[in-house]
């Protein structure tokens, strides 16, 4: 059992196709995760990367706390169930299940126990001697499940395990898998394109599309709060109803106008529902997609009686499901079938209620259950955690009217705006700092974060607060205007935020190159020091190890000497025991061959009897027909019927041999199958017995060696350990020798081992030919002697946040970086800045893959 972590996982094929893009997820121990999406969305590829069957192009995969990117599948301690079962056809069910453990050299008795346990859990006990081809699809998949669970893996991977089964078996197997998960409490990862499986099985579901994760959430949250139109449409049957509408915020409520069917009455939403929506969507100008599920629209009397939010629907047809009826209709009356409607609607009703196709009926939409999406980005406009707070702002005569009137910070890039807006991301509101005050109106919990809606100077905005905050509390906050976007009253952007990070260009070089160019002795000294440290560490380890080894050998020697007198006696005992087992083996062999002979003779007998039966049957048929024909020819005088009788006789004669042959073949095949099954069962029983006996032989011998010649064993053991230790030392020395740098123009920046590993992991030996983009945050630089020279251009004032804008040159191009103000620096002064690589984000420039 283990947790999993996927960090910036990419799968890029040699032709540049990105099958999986930037997959990030943490999976807790014991979770049941389902990857779902249409075909080609990268879900299977992701699973196969976790299994180790597919290389990871970039990013890290952790199982537990270990990075497993370069680990063989067998070393990852995972088990997998395949869509086409992937059972070994030449092995019996027992052997299929035991194969993995046999390869891992688990003792026979333990294997037997585990196979029996798994067979019992999955109801396979009666089939253990069968070969897969003699089983049904459902049984095969159970074997495949059994094979996976009996190894007790850390993670179970299931790749569309039910898609080859029919509907009834599928629902049965679904509950089998669900129960298994509850019993085993192992982490399950399950891939499917069937959203019913996803919703019923998963504790969390990952919806994917075109290699990108759309939403990761619990099934209920996916259903209730889809993050975008794709998820909304993909999850839930029948599909969600979608309509184009516009929203206009009024004094009391929000008016919803239909775009494609103007004649329909408008809906009214409560203002609370769109609190998190950006104001631009609420001005009646932008088209928004309205979505609601079939159960959120009703034709029942008691709902219609409420009187509000009622629309007209023209019925086109019905789907009766027994306990309920789906009414298919349209908000618009459409003649004929040619035109594709933009306004179809599906309504769930308790019955047909006497409606007929073509009827115009009234239906009520439950507006508390609607979803709203941006028609351009398809993202929801009322997200659970809004990205921005959008507030009205005026800037006139160097004064900014926002949280009260204040002097406009110098470097806000807008000098004048009237009736404009400012968009502040959540990270721009720094709670606990500064002097501004706000009152908490509402707190929502999202994962481990607390989202608060606060009022400051009559404006409502969102920010994160700590867990102790309560509704009604007053908080202090500061605003980082460098992250703000300003718009004028026409929604045109007039002030862009300062980018969060500044880019540096770099290439990857090794120590030798760095030293050749810079002749910086420190680099070489560093390597010497690292190697020295490793040597020192191993010197003390070896000393300890040798002490332990000497002691163990001395003890073994003592034991051996003490036993020396009894060796002869023990040997005799061993020989006696082994002779007995050998006898048993010979007996078993003889017994087996007799049984096989017997079975073969029996089947030959059966075959002969059956063939005789068929022969007799056909002979009788032949004679009967002949006799019948002769008689009818004698008695029948009607030429027409004589002719037809003659014809039918002719046909009988012609087809007779073929008929007989077919019957013989059919029977022979069936008998052969029985024979093979019986012989196979005999064989597998025999080989199991042989294994047990042979193992006993080996164990006896081993026990004899161990008690009488312990020295040999101990020496062997320590020789192995010495080798291991040497190998470890060699590896560590190699690691100590390898030192890499980022060459940023003329500057060489030493790379921490962790980052080097990640970059090399992502790109392999291509690292030296690539150009990297290092995105540095504003607090990612420190001043240092050996830093990159920058010239301070100006002080930048964003109110509560003050920075310096510095210019430098890289590869002949002028670049600017912004650094947080920590001390007073004169304009024009040159400072040397060293980038803190750990704080950066590192991208590969060609394909824009994030490596760190």
């Amino acid at each position: 059992m283990a947790s999993l972590k996927l960090e910036h996982i990419y799968k890029v094929y040699p032709n540049g196709h990105k099958a999986v893009t930037d997959f990030n997820m943490e999976i807790k121990d014991g979770e049941f995760i389902v990857f779902v999406g249409p075909s080609g969305c990268g879900k299977s590829t992701t699973l196969r990367m976790i299994a180790g069957l597919e290389d990871i192009s970039s990013g890290e995969l952790y199982i537990g706390d270990t990075i497993v990117n370069d680990m063989q599948p067998k070393d990852r301690d995972i088990a997998m169930v395949f869509q086409n079962y992937a059972l070994y056809p030449h092995m019996t069910v027992y052997e299929n299940m035991a194969f993995g453990l046999t390869l891992r050299k688990v003792p026979r008795t333990e294997i037997h126990e585990k196979v029996m346990w798994a067979a019992d859990a999955l109801g396979l006990k009666d089939y253990l001697d069968r070969k897969p081809k003699a089983m049904s699809g459902g049984q095969r998949q159970r074997v495949s499940l059994g094979r996976a669970i009996l190894r007790n893996p850390k993670v179970m991977l299931l790749d569309e395990p039910l898609s080859n089964l029919d509907a009834k078996l599928r629902s049965q197997m679904r509950s089998v898998i669900g129960k298994l998960h509850q019993q085993l409490k192992t982490t399950f990862i399950y891939v499917t394109h069937d959203q019913v499986e996803a919703m019923t099985l998963g504790t969390r579901v990952v919806v994917m599309k075109l290699g990108k994760v759309q939403q990761i959430d619990t099934p209920q949250n996916l259903y209730d709060h889809p993050i975008n139109k794709f998820v909304a449409g993909f999850i839930g049957t029948p599909q969600m109803n979608f309509f184009n509408v516009t929203l206009k915020e009024g004094a009391k409520d929000v008016d919803v106008a239909w775009v494609d069917v103007e004649e329909q009455p408008h809906l009214k939403l409560k203002k609370d529902q769109v609190l998190k929506a950006e104001k631009k969507f609420l001005q009646g100008t932008k088209t928004v997609v309205l979505g609601f599920r079939c159960e959120a629209i009703s034709v029942e009397e008691e709902d219609l009686a409420k009187g509000d939010n009622i629309v007209d629907v023209v019925i086109s047809h019905f789907e009766e499901l027994g306990n309920e009826t789906l009414i298919y209709g349209d908000l618009k009356h459409i003649e004929g079938l040619g035109e594709e409607s933009k306004t179809p609607v599906i309504i769930k009703a308790s019955s047909k209620k006497g409606f007929k196709p073509g009827d115009r009926i009234k239906a009520r939409i439950d507006v508390s259950k609607i979803h709203l999406f941006d028609s351009e980005t398809e993202m929801t406009i009322i997200p659970p955690v809004p990205e921005y707070s959008v507030l009205p702002v005026d800037i006139i005569d160097g004064k900014m009217e926002l949280f009260g009137t204040e002097k406009k910070p110098n470097d806000i890039p807008v000098d004048f705006v009237k009736d404009g807006t400012i968009s502040l991301p959540l990270s721009a509101i720094k709670v606990g700092e500064g002097k501004l005050e706000a009152k908490i109106d509402l707190i929502e919990v999202h994962g481990d974060k607390y989202l608060a809606q606060v009022t400051a100077n009559k404006h409502k905005l969102f920010c994160f607060v700590d867990s102790k905050a309560k509704v009604g509390d007053k908080i202090k906050f500061a605003v980082d205007y460098s992250q703000a976007t300003f718009r004028d009253h026409d929604e045109k952007i007039i002030g862009y935020p300062l980018s969060e990070r500044d880019d540096l260009k770099a290439t990857f070089v090794n120590l030798k190159t760095a030293f050749e160019v810079t002749k910086n002795q420190e680099f070489m000294d560093l390597q010497t020091k690292r190697i020295g440290e490793v040597n020192e560490k191993y010197a003390s380890l070896e000393e300890e190890f040798n002490k332990e080894k000497d002691a163990a050998i001395a003890e073994a020697q003592k034991k051996q000497d003490a036993n020396a007198s009894k060796v002869e006696e023990e040997k005799a005992k061993l020989d006696e025991a082994n002779a007995k087992i050998k006898e048993e083996i010979a007996l078993a062999k003889k017994d087996h061959s007799e049984k096989v002979k017997e079975a073969k003779a029996k089947h030959k007998e059966i075959h002969k009897a059956e063939m005789e039966k068929i022969d007799a049957q056909y002979k009788k048929m032949w004679l009967d027909e002949k006799e019948d024909y002769r008689k009818s020819m004698l008695t029948n005088k009607d030429p027409e019927s004589r002719r037809s009788r003659r014809m039918s006789y002719q046909i009988f004669k012609e087809s007779f041999p073929q008929m007989k042959q077919n019957d013989i073949e059919r029977k022979t095949n069936a008998l052969d199958f029985d024979k093979e099954t019986e012989l196979g069962a005999l064989d597998s029983k025999f080989s199991q017995k042989m294994h047990v006996l042979k193992e006993e032989l080996a164990q006896n011998k081993q026990a004899f060696e161990e008690t009488n010649f312990p020295l040999k064993g101990v020496e062997k053991e320590y020789a192995k350990k010495v080798k291991e230790l040497e190998q470890r030392k060699k590896d560590d020395l190699l690691k100590a020798e390898l030192i890499f740098f980022f060459k940023i123009d003329e500057h060489y920046e030493l790379l921490p081992d962790a980052i080097t590993t990640k970059i090399i992991q992502g790109l392999g030996n291509k690292v030296f030919t690539k150009v990297f983009r290092i995105a540095m945050p504003h607090d990612g630089f420190v001043e240092a002697e050996d830093g990159i020279p920058f010239q301070v251009v100006q002080e930048v004032n964003y109110g509560d946040v003050k920075m310096y804008k510095c210019s430098g040159e890289q590869y002949g191009e002028k670049i600017y970086v912004y650094i947080l103000k920590e001390r007073e620096i004169e304009r024009g002064e040159t400072i040397k800045l060293k980038p803190l690589i750990e704080k950066s984000e590192i991208y590969e420039s060609d394909l824009n893959i994030r490596l760190y």
């Binding site: 067998k74 395949f82 869509q83 992937a86 070994y88 056809p89 993995g100 390869l103």
Partner: protein, 287 residues
């Protein structure tokens, strides 16, 4: 009435068509087996006769006896030489062919497609084109005087006949390989413990093909023994028997030898015929 006429004529047409087909097939098979019967009958004749059958009163077993008794026809030695060569060639070749096919079917490496095409093109040149060079190489290795160097010559090109086995391996689902990898195996485990047990027909097919090749080969055998100036003891059956044809006194003995040579192969084919067909057909599913 018209209907009846139609029916009769249709049946007549069918029957006559079938008769024609059988006639042609019988003719072809007669032509096919004729040399074989000719060989058998001649092997029992005292002298070479002009017709198929030996002249009356000339029936004899002496030809067979001669094969094993005359000092200039050490047939048993030839037979053993050939068998050893064919046996080891078959063994090595089967292993090599199956391994190559597996690699080409399952492993993805740079130049795989190009290699497959190259092998296909190389295979179109007849093997004897390289005879001179092969002899030179054998001489360099110092084994040009041994008939058993033929094992090396025959085995060397074996990987080139990978297509049939590769086609068969392609039909075995890849998920099996993956299941083994996850179960804790390596590529070796996959090959020896899963793929091979499933490939009985193709293994037998490969053994048969690689046995019959050296068994009947004349050209390389003649070349090696001739240039190395070997005694009749070092011949293979093909070389030895060919030597007999130059003297018409030995004509019957030659025929007797030919009959004996064909027996093991015939027996092998009868025994393994089922697998042979399965092997070819199995490969044919996916080229």
């Amino acid at each position: 009435m018209a209907e009846k006429k139609k029916l009769v004529s249709k049946r007549f047409a069918e029957k006559s068509q079938r008769a024609l087909v059988y006639f042609v097939l019988t003719l072809i098979s007669l032509i096919w087996v004729f040399p074989f019967f000719y060989l058998i009958f001649q092997s029992f004749g005292k002298y070479a006769s002009g017709g198929i059958f030996p002249a009356s009163g000339e029936w004899t077993f002496q030809n067979y006896v001669n094969l094993f008794t005359l000092p200039e026809t050490p047939f048993l030695k030839w037979w053993i030489n050939t068998f050893v060569i064919a046996f080891f060639t078959a063994l090595l070749q089967t292993i090599l062919v199956l391994m190559t096919s597996y690699a080409l079917s399952r492993l993805r490496f740079n130049g795989r497609q190009a290699l497959m095409k190259l092998i296909l093109i190389l295979g179109m040149f007849p093997g004897f084109l390289g005879m001179l060079v092969i002899y030179y190489i054998l001489e360099l290795l110092g084994i040009n005087t041994s008939i058993f160097s033929l094992i090396l010559v025959y085995t060397a090109s074996s990987a080139m006949s990978y297509y049939v086995a590769k086609g068969f391996f392609d039909t075995i689902p890849k998920a099996l390989d993956e299941a083994v990898m996850i179960d804790g195996g390596t590529k070796n485990t996959v090959f020896w413990r899963v793929i091979l047990p499933l490939s009985k027909p193709i293994i037998i097919y490969t053994i048969l093909v690689s046995f019959t090749g050296p068994w009947g080969d004349f050209m390389f055998g003649k070349y090696i023994t001739q240039t190395a100036g070997m005694l009749p003891d070092g011949y293979t059956v093909a070389v030895g028997l060919q030597g007999l044809t130059s003297n018409s006194d030995y004509y019957g003995t030659f025929c007797a030898g030919a009959v004996l040579v064909s027996i093991p192969i015939t027996a092998l084919f009868f025994w393994l015929q089922r697998y042979y067909v399965e092997g070819i057909a199995g490969g044919a599913v996916k080229g």
